[in-house]
């Protein structure tokens, strides 16, 4: 790998995702350089192949092209559609890195030591790729419960711990003098810092949500306890809170025809079926009748509904006519009437309790 830039590597891998996926899926593992599908995929652009070969992602041997086996793992984790690296895959990379380091230390020839060292470089780079991809998925709260039963934060913590231990406890890595390896480890450490920041941010977010939810739950339980023990008014400001609530939710249902004039709408606390009765029509009472009734009502000591219900002429009135009279009186003499916040429940609807002003 000539270019060890992590972002460059990932960008390239994503750009050439189709080609890499195709190569990865090839049963034989290699493909002829003359293969028409290969050129169709890269649209005849040799530079695209060269770019992958120069970074060591692809290997050219004679007339054949294949994927660098050291990249199989990141390909598997990053190129499978809809799949992101799992914590298990990253653990696998760490294990293999450790095994290669062991093999390097036991190398019997300079050539095999050289090969193992190159593999170490590849695997540290691969680890960075996988970590970054994993961190990216964890940050966006990607979570596949079938693969990763733990939450993204928990998995990130676990991975971070594993990689930290590998880096700090492996003498080969801690004492590395070789410049490319030192550069790789430096970049790996930077990736670890990104991971740590994501863990901290997620933990903070998680802690905030938990505290807030826990507080809310706790408060409901406390309020419920106080209510059950008749201590709610004594131990809370509930009276104050409910007194200040203005929502109509706290009131008796109110049905007002918005097309009525304002003065009427203020008093028209009647149910919809009775609304047409206010308009008159077949139930229209004469002005004289209305004034006579008003005079009688003001001399009585009862509310308007019961006054009309108990009126000597009530037997001659239908329910609708009585309702019509009720609202005629109400709308005509509203200024002289007191509308109480009480309703009289009847079979034809709820009537506001109306008294003559004293």
């Amino acid at each position: 790998m000539n270019d060890l830039s992590l972002s460059g590597l990932i960008t390239l891998m994503f750009q050439e995702k189709r080609l890499l996926q195709w190569l990865y899926d090839l049963p034989a593992g290699t493909v002829s350089m003359e293969n028409p599908n290969l050129w169709e995929i890269i649209r005849g652009d040799k530079e695209r192949l060269f770019s992958l070969v120069s970074r060591g992602i692809l290997v050219v041997e004679g007339e054949s092209l294949s994927l660098n086996p050291t990249f199989f793992l990141p390909f598997r984790v990053s190129l499978t559609p809809g799949q992101k690296p799992s914590s298990h895959t990253i653990t696998e990379i760490i294990d293999r890195l450790q095994r290669i380091i062991d093999q390097y230390e036991k190398s019997v020839s300079p050539q095999s030591a050289h090969d193992h060292f190159l593999n170490i470089l590849s695997f540290t780079g691969m680890l960075r790729v996988a970590l970054l991809l994993y961190a990216e998925s964890a940050e966006s709260h990607y979570h596949n419960p079938e693969q990763d039963p733990l939450s993204p934060v928990e998995n990130l913590k676990k991975i971070y711990q594993e990689v930290s231990e590998t880096l700090s406890e492996n003498l080969f890595l801690t004492t590395a003098e070789d410049h490319p390896l030192k550069q790789q480890l430096f970049l790996l450490q930077k990736t670890m810092n990104i991971l740590r920041e994501i863990i901290q941010a997620d933990e903070q977010r998680s802690a905030n949500n938990t505290v807030s939810e826990d507080d809310f739950l706790k408060k409901i339980k406390q309020l419920k306890y106080l209510a059950d023990n008749h201590l709610l008014q004594k131990n809370t400001n509930l009276s104050e809170v409910v007194s200040e609530e203005k929502a109509l939710l706290w009131e008796e249902p109110l049905v007002i025809n918005p097309h009525l004039e304002t003065d009427d709408s203020q008093i028209a606390k009647f149910t919809k079926p009775t609304a047409p009765l206010l308009q008159g029509g077949e139930y229209s009472a004469s002005k004289e009748d209305v004034f006579r009734l008003k005079s009688d009502f003001f001399q009585s000591n009862t509310d308007l509904y019961h006054f009309l219900a108990g009126h000597p002429s009530a037997e001659e009135w239908t329910d609708n006519y009585r309702t019509h009279l009720f609202f005629r009186l109400l709308s005509r003499f509203a200024a002289d009437l007191e509308i109480l916040p009480e309703f009289i429940e009847t079979s034809i609807g709820n009537f506001p309790k109306i008294m003559a002003k004293k």
């Binding site: 408060k219 209510a227 809370t236 409910v242 609530e245 109509l248 249902p253 007002i256 203020q266 916040p341």
Partner: protein, 182 residues
């Protein structure tokens, strides 16, 4: 002259019942009303003011407010206790219960049947009729909360419910209450 959309009467009649209009309602008509309210908020406010009604807005819901209360504080306290009972029941069923939450009636029923504490809470919920059958009472309770406009049935059969935005009004009520230290 205030220009109002044709939905005005329907919106008015709905809000005047003390109900809410939620943006995540399953009722397409209510969703449309919410958008109409968003688009004509100022005109509505001006129109309703002479009727002594104020168009109020919560997070994702609208409702009517009135300056002067016509109900006694004692009645309101009783009502608030009912709401606390509801919240306590739902939060005991699932701590994540809140606006946008979906639940299947059967799952709630199974939990009520298997969870002694939840069953007791249900038993103590004041309902107009008080059936002894757990299923019947649960369904009655859900219908009551649905009628109040805090949850909506996703299917006519009432198999699945969704908690609408207006439920946040009840949560905000709890947040306003301060527990005084003895």
């Amino acid at each position: 002259m205030i220009t109002l959309p044709p939905q005005t009467v329907d919106i008015f009649e709905h809000l005047a019942k003390g109900l809410f209009i939620s943006n995540n309602s399953l009722n397409p008509q209510q969703k449309e009303w919410y958008q109409v309210l968003e688009d004509h908020q100022e005109n509505f406010a001006r129109y309703f003011t002479p009727l002594n009604l104020q168009l109020s807005r919560g997070e994702g819901y609208y409702f009517f407010s009135r300056k002067e209360s016509r109900t006694r504080t004692e009645e309101r306290i009783e009502q608030a206790i009912r709401y606390i009972d509801w919240l306590d029941f739902f939060k005991s069923f699932d701590p994540d219960f809140g606006p946008g939450y979906r639940f299947e009636t059967e799952i709630l029923l199974n939990k009520v049947i298997s969870d002694r504490i939840l069953r007791k809470k249900l038993t103590l919920l004041p309902l107009r009729s008080n059936p002894s059958d757990v299923r019947e009472k649960t369904l009655l309770f859900l219908k009551l909360v649905e009628k109040a406009g805090f949850i909506e049935s996703e299917q006519e059969s009432g198999d699945t419910y969704r908690v609408v935005a207006a439920y946040a009004y009840l949560e905000s009520l709890v947040e306003k209450i301060k527990i005084l230290q003895p």
